[in-house]
Point group: D3
Chain length 128, copies 6
C-alpha cells in the first residue's frame, strides 16, 4: 500500500504539491483516510498512466469541474495544477469557454472567474 | 450570418459531418434554428479557435458529457468526432476512466458502455 | 387530508388527468403514498396558487426538467400538460431552445426530441 | 457580426444593462470573447424571438438557474432582469417555490435567499 | 391542515428545531408558505414514517446533499440533525467519504469541510 | 495490490457478486482496469470499513444514485445489493420516497420504477 501512496505523491509533486498538503491538513482531524484515497486512487492509479499526458488530463479535469459547477475550490487547484504541468493560461481559458456549449453560460462564467483569481495571483493577467 | 454558418460547417466536415446532418434532419420539422445555432455557436465560434487543437477539444467535451451523465447520444457523437480528428480509442478510454474521480464511478461506467458501442461499430475492440 | 387530495385532483383534471392515472397505476403495488404526495404537494399546494397562471407554471416546469436532463418521461408529461392548459407548441419549442444557454446544447436537443415525440402523437408537426 | 452584437445589446438595455456591463468588465482581461458570445448567442438569437415574451423567458431562466443550484450570481442577475421587464416579485417567488417539486427543497430555499437579497436592495420586502 | 403542521413540528423538535426556526425567520417576509411546506411535506409526511429510523433517514439525506454538491447550508443543518437523533460523527464521516465513489472526490471533500465546521462548533474534533 | 483486490471481492461476494461479474465482462475488452478500480477503491476501501454497516451503506448509495437521476442501471444493482445484505424492500421504498424532498419528484419516481423492476423479478410485489 505504501508503494501506491508513494507513486501518487510522486506525481503530485509535479502537479500540485501544495494542494495535496492543504488537503491533508484540512482532513487530518476529521478524515485522513480520504486524503490518502485522493493520493492512492486518482493520482496513483489514473494520472500516472502515460497513455494521455498530464496537460490533457488536467484540461479534461477542468472541463469536468466547470461542468459540475459547484466545486470552485477544486477547480482553482486544478487550474494551478494545469499551469504547473505546462498548460498555458490561454488554453485553460479556451476550454472553460468551450464548456458554455455543454454546461451552459453560467457554468462557463463562474469557472472563468475562478481562473481569473488564480491567474491574478500568478500575475498572468491580462491573458494575451 | 451565412459566413458564420459556413465556417461552422467547414469544421464539422472535419469532425463529424454525419452527426450534424442527423441533427438537422431531427430538428427540421420542430426547431431548425436550434440546428443552425449548434453550427453557428459552438462549431463556428469555439471549435475554430486554434489556440487548442481539435483533439484536445473533443477529449474535453467527452469529459464534460461523461460528467453530465444523461447525454449518452451526444457523447457517442463526440466519441466519433474525437476518432475523426485523430484521437486514439485508448485515449478516449483513459479520459472516461479519469472521470470516475470527479463525477463518480456510475458516470464513468455509463460513458464507457457508450464508448464501447461506438468502438464496436468501428471494429476497434478489443482496445489495446 | 381528503380536501387537499381533492384540490390537487381537480387541477390535475385540467392539466393532465391521464398522467396522474398512470402514476397511480405505476405506483400502486410499490409506493401508493408517493402518488398521493404528488397530488397533495405540488398539484394541491403549488399549481392551485393563482398568482401565476398554469401556462407559465408549465413552461417553467419544462425549463426545469430540460435542465435536469434525465427525466424525459416527466418532461413529456409536462409537455402534454402545457398543451392542455393552452400553451402553443411553438412556445414550448422556444423555451426548450432557450435552455441551451443555461443547461447546454445536449440538454436542449434531448428535450427537443422528447417534445417532438409528443407533438408527433398529437399531429402538431411541422411546427409553424 | 456587429449587427448581431447590436441586436443583443439592444435587448440587454431593456433587460439588464448593468449586468452585461459587469460581465464585460469581469471578462475583459481574461476572456472578452465570452462576454461577446453572451450578447450574440442567448440575447441576440434567443431573447429577441417574439414568440414568447420577455417576462415568461425570464421566469423560465429563473426556473433553470434554481434547478442548477450553484449559479446564485447569475440567478440574482436574472431576478433583476425579470423585475426590469415587468415580472412582479410575487411571481418570482411563486416560480422559485414551484421548483421545490422538481429540484428539491434545498434548491428552492437557496434560490429564495438570493431573491430576498435582490428584493431587499430594491426595497420590495415584505412581499405582499 | 394544522394537524399536519403540528405533526411535522413535533418531529422537527427532535431533529433540529433551531434550523426550522431559522428557515421560518429567513422566509417570513418573502415566502412563509415555503417554510410551511418544508414542515408539512418532508417532515410531516416522510420523517414520521416509522419504517426507517431517523438515524438512517438523516444519513441518507446527507448522502443526497453531498451528491448535489451545492447545498452546503442545508447539509450542515442535516449534519446537526443527524447528531441530534444519535448518529455518531464518525458515521457521518463514513457516509460522506463513501460518496466519493458515486459523486466524485470534489463532492466528498466539500461535504467533509462542511461537516468539519459543524463538528468544530460542537467540539467533536478530532474524530476518533 | 492483489490483497486489496481480494478484500474487495470478498465483500462483493456478500453484496452483489453477479453485478461485479457483469461489470468485468462488460469492461474486459475496453477498460478492464476500471473494473479493477471499482473493486479496489469503493469495495475494498470503503464498504469494508465497519464503522457503518452494509445495510446503511447500501441505502445511502441508493439515496445518492436516486439524486443523480441518470444511473438507473447502477441503481438497480445497488437495490439488489441492498436486498442481499438484508435491507427490506419497504426500507428501499422509503428512502427513494424521501429523496423527493431533496432531488425532486422526477428523481424519486424514476428511481421507484427501477426498484419496481428489481422487486418484480424477485417476486417482492406488492410491497406490504
Amino acid at each position: 500500500m505504501e508503494d501506491r501512496f508513494k507513486k501518487g505523491m510522486d506525481i503530485l509533486k509535479i502537479i500540485n504539491e501544495d494542494n495535496i498538503e492543504d488537503i491533508f491538513k484540512n482532513l487530518e482531524d476529521i478524515a485522513p483516510d480520504l486524503g490518502r484515497f485522493v493520493v492512492e486512487y486518482p493520482y496513483s492509479e489514473i494520472y500516472t498512466r502515460e497513455l494521455v499526458d498530464l496537460k490533457t488530463r488536467e484540461l479534461c479535469t477542468i472541463a469536468s469541474l466547470t461542468t459540475l459547477g459547484y466545486p470552485q475550490n477544486e477547480l482553482k487547484s486544478h487550474i494551478e495544477g494545469a499551469l504547473s504541468v505546462g498548460v498555458k493560461a490561454q488554453e485553460i481559458v479556451e476550454i472553460i469557454m468551450q464548456m458554455s456549449a455543454y454546461a451552459g453560460f453560467p457554468a462557463s462564467i463562474d469557472a472563468m472567474m475562478s481562473a481569473k483569481e488564480v491567474f491574478k495571483e500568478k500575475d498572468l493577467l491580462p491573458i494575451k
